[in-house]
Symmetry: C2
Subunit: 240 residues, 2 copies
């Protein structure tokens, strides 16, 4: 985000440990501790919390359920206009557990969109479904604008064909199927950042649930809604 | 429930304080404390938790979010087959906040069903949306059968025309509109219990989200899905 958005936006991080770039230190599980970081900002991009599908309940509760409430509540108290919430595909992860590995085929026509019935695959997925419902409440009761991004696979190395990629163990994929999955779910770093940028800049939209995935031939998540609602178009695509 | 279902089912309660009928004492916010109550039972009817729309976050978190996780998890650990979860209309309460008081009119055709997009009206409503998502997870990952009842207004006196009924203050209703609301949302005690009984007895259904409302002319929640899925039909109706 600092690389892709740092020129158009003034970024200040909220992190657990101090950084070399502008940042506050705080733990989102403690509301009072993070409130100062929300003062005077136009938008919050909430990427904090536990990220593993099989995160145990105690961490889901503290980091994702309490933490996400604290983020929305701190934003409300500080009068922040927008919150971009890193949701996940895991609120609808059961479609993949049921459909893999055929779902990864280029010629498989199934597409899961924002209106699909919730079918979480994990407590982590439940926590993200909860976060989306909470976001909707803050839109309708408190006037925030909230953008929920059901993010796919963003990789440190940004390479969708890297060998050492780990799909959820529960999927029970072979090595080749694991590669197909990554080529289906990959979201390039610049596509991730351009999606966040659209949420920070779009006018006349106060609520969105969209998938964050590059234009991969093997993808099984919808891009049409993000295109229509936000005008967002990914620029990258994993190889077949 | 003891009056309506006590002859067909052997009931044991789990309550905060000791009772004159068969019961365990325990607080659902403490998993270890409630686990013994789940041993050897066929089904759990989860009616515990905070019930007021404007319940503050700390109580929503403890009683509804943690408590409902503990109920599903204790049921799973004990091998309980079914959980009937007292959800609420508040996960979709914004439709009412937007539509009242016209929504209560006999000739208003709007009906909110189980497939309506989630629009919680409160943290309480978010906690019930979360409980439904959690229930779905326990169905799909752990093989439980879960029935989520979006319950309307069940009254101690069972009289839908009682004067002293309190609609959520946020609705800003006049006294007459408050009566209309109650006549729209009323669920008689025996209809509530017959709905629970259907969930305890129905075969071949492992997941349901249905509305619990009597056949009121002013109602604005769907009954068709409960009829089709569970074969449940309310016997009572509030007067116009």
């Amino acid at each position: 985000m600092r690389r892709e958005l740092g020129e158009r936006h003034e970024l200040v991080a909220l992190t657990l440990t101090s950084q070399s770039f502008p940042s506050h230190v705080g733990d989102i599980s403690r509301l009072e501790e993070i409130e100062p970081a929300f003062i005077g900002v136009d938008a919050v991009v909430h990427l904090a919390g536990s990220v593993a599908m099989e995160t145990p309940w105690e961490q889901v509760l503290t980091n994702n359920i309490v933490g996400t409430y604290n983020v929305f509540e701190a934003a409300r108290r500080a009068g922040v206009e927008r919150v971009v919430f890193a949701s996940s595909n895991h609120p609808v992860g059961m479609y993949e557990l049921d459909g893999a590995p055929d779902l990864y085929r280029v010629d498989d026509g199934r597409v899961i969109d924002h209106a699909a019935e919730l079918r979480p695959d994990s407590l982590y997925g439940v926590s993200k479904a909860y976060g989306e419902a909470l976001g909707r409440l803050y839109v309708e009761r408190h006037g925030l604008r909230v953008f929920c991004l059901r993010i796919g696979s963003v990789l440190a190395g940004d390479d969708p064909s890297a060998a050492a990629v780990s799909a959820p163990a529960l999927l029970g994929l072979s090595r080749e199927e694991g590669v197909h999955r990554m080529r289906a779910t990959w979201l390039s770093q610049r596509d991730c950042c351009s999606l966040i940028a659209r949420c920070l800049e779009v006018e006349d939209v106060s609520w969105a649930v969209v998938y964050g995935v590059s234009a991969n031939p093997r993808r099984f998540w919808d891009l049409e809604h993000a295109r229509e609602l936000l005008g967002w178009e990914p620029r990258d695509a994993a190889p077949e």
